[in-house]
């Protein structure tokens, strides 16, 4: 039972007081951190700022800009992955824990093909067609993975108690990770170098952005637009929304529920494949566990944006990405936490916990069928 559904006049128990205290503590850390940051920005040497953290130097405009852009590009990737979580949760009402691995499979496919292309010399000479090629290939492989996953593991479990498919998906996640380890080896594998034009910075308006990051944001934006069109404007999309609302009635209306569910997985897989390539282009290195943390953060993004809500997933992704990039340096560092950027993963989880405590339905409202809302 969520806090939202409890009656307001119910007696406060110890747990309520604890949660109140926890929320208060988290907000005061944020508030106090921001206050300290502001002080240190004004003048790192003033008395109050030094009392809080005498090592503080504040951030330069360039540093801040870099953080924001890193957060945005990372966040749009989380957003792309989050779409898959959000759609599957909307339709089937369970967390497809293995979705992060679909993303990893996309990144691995991209790594293998791009290296082959680089050997053949096509990567340098024809970068854009090669990139398109590996994106298409990654989409195909990721979609295939997601669809097989649904067919083999989730379809037989439809209607099982809620935690069963979740545990299965943990198993799948674990399995795919280790398939990658035994087939491709446990070490980190790198993407070939990008042509130098792409690693240079591009100035737009007043921002200087590395072109790869720009590419990531653009591709994410375009994918999101395509997806939005698909879900809101096509017949398949309408069917998907109907299935998400009520499977039984949708099937009575002549919708092939199984096919729609497979489509949902396929679309989620395709988005994860795109995200995988973007990851590879941006960080140029993949390991078998690449999908794990981004996957969980993307799920957090889906929750933060309101699960089942596609726009929310993208917005949630950008919020989580920005928070984990910026918050350590403008909240934790000013408070005297040294090595704050090591805590970025912890910050991402803290955001999830905070959102679930304050607004369990996410920032933009969840869209779930009546049975899943319970």
């Amino acid at each position: 039972m969520t806090t939202a559904t409890r009656h307001k006049s119910a007696r406060r128990t110890g747990v309520d007081w604890f949660l109140f205290f926890l929320k208060f503590a988290m907000f005061s850390v944020i508030g106090f951190g921001l206050f300290a940051f502001t002080l240190q920005q004004i003048d790192p040497n003033n008395w109050l700022a030094q009392q809080i953290n005498d090592d503080a130097t504040g951030l330069t405009a360039d540093q801040f800009e870099g953080l924001v852009i890193a957060g945005l590009s990372q966040g749009s990737m989380y957003g792309l992955i989050a779409l898959g979580y959000s759609m599957v949760y909307g339709v089937l009402g369970f967390i497809n824990f293995a979705h992060g691995e679909v993303f990893m499979v996309g990144a691995m496919t991209g790594m293998i093909t791009s290296n082959k292309l680089a050997e053949a010399g096509a990567w340098e000479s024809n970068f854009v067609p090669s990139l398109l090629f590996i994106v298409v290939l990654a989409i195909l492989v990721s979609t295939f993975t997601a669809v097989v996953m649904e067919r083999v593991a989730y379809r037989p479990l439809r209607g099982a108690p809620r935690l069963i498919p979740l545990i299965t998906s943990i198993g799948i996640s674990f399995f795919i990770q280790n398939v990658s380890v035994v087939l491709l080896g446990p070490g980190a594998k790198s993407y070939p170098d990008l042509p130098s034009w792409w690693t240079e910075t591009q100035s737009i308006w007043f921002l200087d952005v590395q072109r790869t990051r720009l590419l990531v944001v653009l591709v994410a934006g375009v994918s999101m637009a395509v997806l939005w069109y698909l879900v809101e404007r096509t017949k398949t999309g309408k069917a998907m929304r109907a299935v998400a609302e009520d499977k039984e009635i949708a099937s009575l209306m002549g919708i092939n529920v199984n096919r729609i569910i497979v489509t949902t997985f396929a679309i989620g897989g395709a988005m994860a494949g795109v995200a995988g390539i973007l990851w590879g282009v941006m960080f140029r290195s993949v390991v078998a566990t690449t999908g794990f943390l981004p996957g969980i953060k993307a799920f957090s993004a889906a929750v933060v944006g309101g699960i089942g809500n596609l726009g929310g997933a993208m917005a949630g992704g950008i919020s989580i990405g920005s928070a984990e990039s910026i918050a350590p340096l403008i909240i934790l560092e000013p408070l005297g936490v040294n090595g704050a950027s090591q805590l970025r993963d912890a910050v991402a989880f803290a955001v999830l916990i905070l959102v679930l405590l304050v607004k369990p339905t996410g920032l933009f409202g969840e869209r779930l069928s009546s049975e899943d809302r319970a």
């Binding site: 545990i167 280790n178 398939v179 380890v181 090595g339 912890a346 916990i353």
Partner: protein, 607 residues
């Protein structure tokens, strides 16, 4: 199905095959075999001889699927009221065909490896794999060999359906016993050595590992004899035992428990250092799994951050008992006795349980899983970070942890795994006692009620929040015991010992063993951790270390799909998981009314 029934059933002709089924099953198996071959299993497991110089675990990794596919394609779905067919030559042939299709996959792989170079992405696309697959001979012989092997093994698998059930059982028991004895070589030869039975061990086991041919024959004969003559009396005795009631049953249970307990106490004295080390690891995981069993099995809360409590136990013990100290501590080093530290560990673990439990307790089950996972990761990151690194040692961890000083009589540390095992065993007994008493207490019943239906439980007056928090706290304390012993055993703690992987492995242990069943959970830990190994600890089959996580993942999926209640299930949990089937059966038998009978309709209609 009994033999007499077969006589009255129609036999199908050999050519009457379901070709589509054969080809799809065969192709799927072929893909699985290609995956196994490319995962390096055949080569890596080749060092473990099952039958000396003749048959290795690596061979088995390729052959078993062919047998299984032969068995599977002969299976018929028996539907209520539908006619089934008699088993005959047709099933042998269908097994053989499926086996050939599957074997063809490996033939194809042999050709591909021979002609193409794909070693860049696929690390095991190697000459060694090729050599293993072509069985030392030429490429052509390798290609043909797999078709033959596939056909033969598939046919054997199919032929299992034709055998009378008693013979079939005999064959399966004999084969499994031989396999088990071969796998347990280290343990069994240690035991026979301490009983002075070395000559016997020398007959059964070859010098360089693996069973001798004579050994295989002896064991197979013994197992077959047991299956033929001994099985019925044993089954009878078991049934009589289960039919016992009241105090007699309790006495029987107590005797069984005492025997198992005594064996557990004696076992470490009979086996060598390696096996003792394994037993100590198993004990640590039994403790963890019993704790998680309370949270997941009894209360139905899927806690994926369970490793957090293990970490808290380990780190608290480490900091309190280590002779070293982080830079940020004041000069004073506590260096307390382990038992004093344990008291503080319990308090800390309980507080962590409350702290993690309170925010998540009202969330949906699946959100709870992710958030606890997040907490588990946050705790590890905090231990690892520079921020707390002054206290916890960061990536260097805390080293130089003193062993467990038992009132000046003895010191238990990792160099003496036998002592560690006994220490763990004491805590395991405590955990078993606590779990057992809790399961049948008011609190345990409340947990089970929440697991079955939270809203109903709340309506029955159970304070769900406090009850669930109690599950968190009890689970946390048990895990922290394990962490405390772990710290003393290893002598140092590092953040890498407390990764999320540990949580998942414990979850696999609990689920494979049987959620909610104490014996099941212990059996799960013994089989999985003992034989395959823990997240970082090697098991009895050290050759499996690269594949165990893969196998754990596959096991988790398979168990969830086929047997979500686990190997040794809890009766109540089984009913919950198969509620629909139970209801359906009852409905078929006319035991329940479905609510849409004419009487009800009559009442509903006027409204």
């Amino acid at each position: 199905m009994s033999d007499t029934m077969n006589d009255s059933l129609a036999t199908r002709s050999v050519t009457d095959q379901d070709w589509r089924k054969l080809v799809t099953h065969g192709t799927v198996t072929a893909c699985a075999l290609i995956f196994i071959a490319l995962s390096n299993m055949p080569v890596a497991l080749d060092d473990f001889d099952l039958i000396a110089d003749r048959f290795t675990l690596g061979d088995l990794s390729l052959y078993w699927l062919l047998l299984v596919i032969g068995l599977v394609v002969g299976k018929e779905v028996v539907l209520e009221g539908m006619a089934t067919h008699a088993k005959g030559a047709r099933d042998v042939v269908s097994g053989a065909i499926a086996g050939i299709v599957a074997g063809a996959g490996l033939s194809l792989l042999v050709i591909l490896i021979n002609n193409f170079e794909l070693r860049d992405p696929l690390v095991n696309w190697s000459p060694q794999t090729l050599e293993k697959l072509s069985v030392g001979g030429s490429i052509l012989s390798g290609v043909l060999l797999w078709l033959v092997i596939g056909g033969v093994l598939g046919a054997i698998g199919g032929a299992m359906h034709v055998l009378p059930s008693r013979i079939r059982q005999l064959v399966i028991v004999a084969a499994m016993t031989v396999l088990l004895v071969a796998i347990l070589e280290t343990v069994l030869s240690d035991i026979s050595e301490s009983f002075g039975l070395e000559p016997l061990a020398d007959i059964v086991y070859a010098k360089r590992g693996g069973l001798t041919i004579v050994g295989v024959l002896i064991i197979a004969a013994a197992a077959a004899a047991y299956s033929w003559w001994g099985h019925a009396p044993v089954k009878d005795a078991k049934q009589r035992f289960q039919a016992l009631e009241g105090p007699e049953r309790a006495r029987g249970n107590f005797i069984a428990f005492a025997i198992v307990g005594a064996l557990t106490l004696v076992l470490p004295m009979l086996v060598g250092g390696i096996v003792n080390e394994l037993l100590a690891n198993v004990g640590l995981f039994v403790l963890l799994a019993l704790g998680l069993n309370i949270v997941v099995g009894l209360a139905g809360i899927l806690d994926l951050g369970y490793v957090a409590f293990f970490a808290v136990g380990g780190y608290t013990t480490a900091i309190l008992t280590s002779a070293n100290r982080g830079d940020s501590w004041p000069d004073w080093v506590p260096q307390t006795n382990w038992f004093v530290a344990l008291l503080i560990v319990v308090v800390f673990a309980a507080l962590t349980g409350l702290f993690i439990g309170a925010p998540v307790i009202r969330m949906r089950g699946d959100y709870l899983a992710i958030v606890t996972l997040g907490f588990g990761e946050i705790i590890r990151l905090l231990f690892l970070s520079d921020w707390l690194g002054g206290y916890t040692g960061g990536a260097q961890g805390v080293t130089n942890i003193r062993g467990v000083n038992i009132f000046g009589l003895a010191t238990v540390r990792g160099t003496d795994p036998q002592a560690v095992f006994y220490l763990v065993a004491v805590f395991c007994v405590l955990a078993i006692y606590v779990s057992w008493r809790l399961e049948h207490s008011r609190l345990g019943r409340a947990w089970m009620a929440i697991r079955e239906d939270e809203s109903v439980a709340e309506a029955m007056g159970i304070n769900t929040v406090n009850t669930k928090l109690m599950a968190f706290v009890v689970g946390a304390v048990l895990a922290s015991f394990s962490g405390a012993i772990f710290a003393a055993k290893v002598g140092s703690v590092f953040p890498t010992s407390f990764i999320i992987l540990v949580s998942i492995v414990i979850l696999v242990v609990v689920i494979v063993g049987g959620m909610g069943n104490i014996a099941g959970v212990i059996a799960g830990a013994v089989v999985l951790i003992g034989v395959l190994g823990g997240p970082r600890q090697p098991g009895l089959l050290q050759e499996f270390s690269n594949f165990k996580l893969l196998i754990y993942g596959a096991l988790l999926i398979w168990m969830m799909l086929k047997r979500p209640e686990g190997l040794i299930p809890n009766v109540r949990r089984t009913r919950e998981l198969h509620q629909e089937e139970f209801l359906q059966d009852a409905w078929l038998k006319g035991e329940i009314d479905t609510g849409d009978e004419p009487d009800d309709m009559g009442e509903v209609a006027p409204v």
